[in-house]
Amino acid sequence: MSALAQQLPAGVEIPEIPWAAISPELTLFGAGILVLLLDTAGPRRRTSSVIALAILLGIAALAAIPGGAAPEIVALLVGAGVLQLALTLWLHTRPRLLGAVLTVVALVATIGIAAWQYQAAANGGMVGTESLLADMVAVDGVALFTRFVVAGAGILTVLLGFAYLQDRRIHRGEYYPLLLFTATGMTLLASAADLLMVFLAVEILSLALYVMTGLARRDMASQEGAFKYLLLGAFSSAFLLYGIALVYGATGTTHIATAGVALSDPGTPAGLVFAGIALMLVGFAFKVALVPFHMWTPDVYQGAPTPVTAFMAAATKVAAFAAFLRVFTGGMEQLAWIWVPAVSVLAAITMLVGAALAVVQDDLKRMLGYSAVAHAGYAAIGLVAVSEIGTGATLFYLLAYAIMSLGAFGILTILERRQRKAIAVADLRGLWQSAPSLAVMFALFLLSLAGIPGTVGFIAKFGIVRAAVDAGLVWLAVVLVISSVIAAYFYIRVIVAMFMDDEPAHLADAPVPPASAASTAVSVAAVGVIALGVLPPAVIDLAERAATFAG
């Protein structure tokens, strides 16, 4: 490397690339490329796998040059190459299963690496809360926490989706690479320390999601959702980009922390400050679905294949909020007096409108879509608290929401397989008799979403209320409670239909092969809802310690 630097003209710096710090993104992205490669190779995927092995070995050899990466990384690269070859040889006749297995392996590896990074950071040895890659990327608590949640949600999504996609004949090869790419975008978004990186990450995750939403090519709702998502996503991206441009214009930098300080300087032109903040706010509000920028949510949630919806609800939200937190709570803390009132009002409206509109929905996916809007409002309270407690509360809330929504959408996935149609509330009548364990678990997820004590939903909501009260935003806590009361109505309506309606729904209960993977995923979510609802301290502690931003 030093030899290379000497050949360059003076004045040009080669940034030292902290491979270890961005290894989760590299893992996800590399796995995505690999799965794509193996998929496009068709019958010759064994050959492709060998080529992939050769490439990985080559990279490992490069990395092994003295002064390069650590020996662990070399070993990991070699191991990954051998593993993918072994898996390909084993599963070369079943490409979808191969893709799913490789995806899960990559996601598990991501969790492992993130855990290692967290461990190192906790010991004070690793990157800690530093900005890297020429201040483009920060590896800090928020980023690590998001990596855990996104990768975990990805694993459950793969498990949930396999049989479902198979049944609906939309199990396409590009599904798994897209999932990995969007996960890459999400983790990158959570660790972006620069507004340009934020924009890039948003685009990476969004483009993959647009395609995933439209995966069901013969389903008009899916196509409609994908198209709306694309159009409106592009529209909102424009706002975000314009906002970033204005901030750059005002401050001369796109680095979040520096720009934040510069924006709060009284010498900065006020018009640019306001316009920049407002437009960026629109971009983020669109991504996390705050009213009135939420309009796409119900259509997209309803149209997308259910496992995709689950992933969208669980992972996209946490990634978008992570960036939202970093830019606003972290970077523009000094300007909180400007944006906190506006975002507070947005959060309040979101909570009320989301809950109220969910009341009149009959389609369960659409109902959960509106409920996702309301939950975005709850999570936003931790944001406007502008405190470590608030940030921790939002992070924990997003984890909780990820578990609950994966569980709830997971149940819908299983039910849709059995009934071969979209599920309305009326279709659930008497589910308690026909499928007691499903009914009980669905009830559990709904109660948790409603915030009933004993479930993680309650603990999470409690944290949010505490943050709000600490920040003197009691009125937001009151709105949260009102919204929760409204929301309880439609959650419990479903429970009543499942348990107390005497007349069962007459539906084709198609005998489908059981999907143990999906059942496992839902059970894991159920266990998580109860475990974190009864014994939350460890994870709350994790979330609160994660509430740190890289300077």
Binding site: F227, K228, L231, L232, F235, S236, F239, P266, G267, T268, P269, A270, V273, F274, A275, I277, A278, L279, L281, V282, A285, F286, P292, F293, M295, W296, P298, D299, W337, I338, W339, P341, A342, V345, L346, V353, A356, L357, A358, V359, V360, Q361, I486, Y489
Partner: protein, 655 residues
């Protein structure tokens, strides 16, 4: 000030009976649990389990009394902590027993009379199909009463207090398949709850003022309490006492409590339950001694109750109902005593009354046993020949309650009247006390004459019963109680120097003598004369059978027969308004509150339906929403800035 008031409690030495006194309550409770759980499998052994546990408690009580008596007079207040119960912030309550002369005297009565009633029930309940349950409740009652009596903390005392209430409910409604019994049980429970509220509030006030509920801390601290607090606590505790001890205004449950089996009546009237209120006031004597004016209120309520109940008793014709009203009346005497601060006299009367009232009830039970469960004394008569033991012992009980010279009742009643005579402002109370003495002698003589003397009226009934004397298990307790009723006076031959007075001295604080309304010798002579006149009149008038009521006095007699229509008064004044209030509230809940909730629900749904219409499905309208939102957002931010602009200008501000 002596004893508890000085806070001179000492810890119970290990191995002493005081350290084991808690078993006195726990063993019957445990036995009750066993009987409730596996009583049916025990079969005929079940009553014996209960009797043995009651016997154990009595033995322990006697041992404790003997042990305590052997100690120095100043060291007879012993506390033993069994375990910590509630460690809640400032409030720390232990399961602790307070063994002192008062508690021991009470536990002797409770276990002694209780045991006799257990034995009696063996014969009385022989043919019942639910014997184990009955004995389980009896044991529970006994154990609860001992929790109450031995409790070192007001809260422990309250636990016993509530358990006793529960037991009375269970036992009065023992034959719950009859509606009358069930509603009598409910009445007893509900009316007792009214008093309990008073007790509870008194506890709250005491805890607020003193910061403890432990008797060994509360009683010494009572001296330093503000006058208002003292009066409030005194009145509230007395309200509690009127509930348990059946005084005006809460006495109305006791006559209905006849619905239970007769041994239960004896237990409630003599040994447990009704004595709790008197015990409470005596226990709190260091508090009441500072508010003699409230004591006078207590005495006045007692006197009024005694008079009202005695008048009602004269007109009753049910064998147990006469006795029930007489209990209410006699309790009135006890409250007269404790009200004027003559605690040893009050407890003395409590003990002697325990003897003779248990005797009378058990005798009544024996009579009903013989009469095939008929209870109307107008249909009886001449039973002395068939039931010599029952009749003879009942005669002793009648003489004792009437205050015939040298019986137990004579001495205790005499002491009460003397104490009232020594109290300033006690003239009216004393007059009432004397009038009630006359009435008591009269109605008890009437009761005895109608049941045991005169013609055998029951032979004219359809299906006449063939009376025969009860078995030994029933007559033995009668004889023992008759002996106690005759000789009970020995406990306290003199108010100042008697055995009981000296014994109780460390536990209670007597008032000072404040007046001398009448000489004690003259008072005694008057009382004896009244008792003799009453007895003679009762026997002479009713020896020949029930008397025809003259037309002129019919309404008055009717009124007394209907117990002064107090139940109807309460029904009209409280129950009916309460019912209508409940109906009104139910209506308000159904229409008002539910309507509000339903309305809110419908309103939300309507709003949401309207809101959902905004969601047209057209991307262009979604984009429009985003655009409008953006404009509003910018406007909002600018608004915030404008609001803050003035301050910023001062600071140099933005351009």
């Amino acid at each position: 000030m002596t004893g508890l008031a000085e806070g001179a409690a000492v810890a119970a030495p290990a191995g002493s009976p005081a350290a084991w006194a808690w078993l006195m309550a726990v063993v019957p409770l445990a036995s009750a649990a066993v009987l409730l759980l596996v009583g049916r499998r025990l079969g005929r052994a079940a009553p014996w389990v209960a009797i043995l546990s009651a016997g154990f408690s009595l033995t322990l009580a006697v041992w404790t009394a003997v042990w305590l008596g052997a100690r120095e007079a100043g060291e007879r207040t012993v506390v033993h902590t069994v375990a910590t119960w509630l460690p809640a912030g400032d409030l720390e309550v232990d399961w602790a027993v307070l063994v002192d002369p008062l508690a021991v005297a009470m536990s002797l009565l409770v276990t002694g009379v209780g045991l006799l009633i257990h034995v009696y029930s063996l014969g009385y309940m022989e043919h019942d199909r639910d014997i184990p349950r009955f004995f389980a409740y009896l044991n529970l009652f006994l154990g609860s009463m001992l929790v109450l009596v031995l409790g070192e903390s007001l809260l422990t005392l309250f636990v016993g207090w509530e358990l006793v209430g529960l037991c009375s409910y269970l036992l009065i409604g023992f034959w719950f398949d009859s509606r009358a019994n069930a509603s009598a049980a409910k009445k007893a429970f509900v009316i007792n709850r009214v008093g309990d509220v008073g007790f509870m509030i008194a506890m709250f006030v005491l805890f607020g003022a003193i910061g403890s509920l432990s008797l060994t801390e509360v009683l010494p601290a009572a001296e330093g309490l503000a006058g208002g607090t003292l009066i409030a606590v005194g009145l509230l505790l007395f309200l509690g006492a009127t509930g348990k001890s059946a005084q005006i205004p809460l006495y109305i449950w006791l006559p209905d409590a006849m619905a239970g089996p007769t041994p239960v009546s004896a237990l409630i009237h003599a040994a447990t339950m009704v004595t709790a209120g008197v015990y409470l006031v005596a226990r709190m004597s260091p508090l009441y001694v500072q508010i003699p004016e409230i004591g006078l209120v207590v005495a006045a309520v007692g006197a009024a109750t005694a008079l009202v109940a005695a008048l009602i008793a004269v007109a009753q014709s049910d064998i147990k109902r006469v006795l029930a009203y007489s209990t209410v009346s006699q309790l009135g005497y006890m409250f007269m005593a404790v009200g004027v601060g003559a605690y040893s006299a009050g407890i003395f009367h409590l003990l002697t009354h325990g003897f003779f009232k248990a005797l009378l009830f058990l005798a009544a039970g024996s009579v009903m046993h013989a009469m095939a469960d008929r209870g109307d004394i107008r249909e009886m008569g001449g039973l002395l020949r068939d039931l010599p033991i029952t009749g003879g012992t009942a005669a002793v009980g009648t003489l004792a309650i009437a205050g015939f010279p040298l019986t137990a009742g004579f001495y205790s009643k005499e002491e009460i009247l003397a104490a009232v005579a020594d109290t300033a402002g006690g003239e009216v109370i004393l007059a009432i006390g004397l009038a009630v003495a006359l009435l008591t002698a009269f109605y008890m003589a009437r009761w005895f004459a109608l049941v045991f003397l005169g013609p055998r009226r029951f032979e004219e009934l359809e299906d006449p019963p063939h009376p025969h004397e009860s078995p030994l298990s029933m007559t033995l307790p009668l004889v023992l109680l008759a002996v106690a009723s005759l000789g009970g006076g020995l406990l306290n031959l003199d108010p100042e120097t008697g055995l009981l007075a000296g014994w109780l001295a460390p536990s209670v604080v007597a008032f000072e003598q404040t007046a001398a309304i009448i000489g004690h010798g003259l008072l005694e002579a008057i009382a004896i004369a009244l008792a003799l006149v009453g007895l003679a009149a009762g026997v002479l008038l009713y020896r020949g059978g029930p008397r025809v009521v003259s037309e002129a006095s019919t309404p008055v007699v009717r009124f007394a027969q209907d117990a002064f229509r107090v139940d109807e008064l309460y029904r009209a004044a409280i129950v009916t308004p309460g019912h209508w209030l409940a109906v009104g509230l139910a209506w308000f809940d159904a229409r008002g509150i539910d309507g509000l909730v339903n309305g809110a629900g419908r309103g939300t749904a309507a709003l949401a339906t309207a809101g959902a219409r905004v969601q047209t499905g057209f991307v262009r309208s979604y984009a429009l929403a985003v655009l409008i939102g953006t404009v509003l957002l910018i406007a909002a931010l600018v608004g915030v800035w404008m609001a803050a602009a003035d301050d910023l200008m001062l600071l140099g501000g933005w351009r």
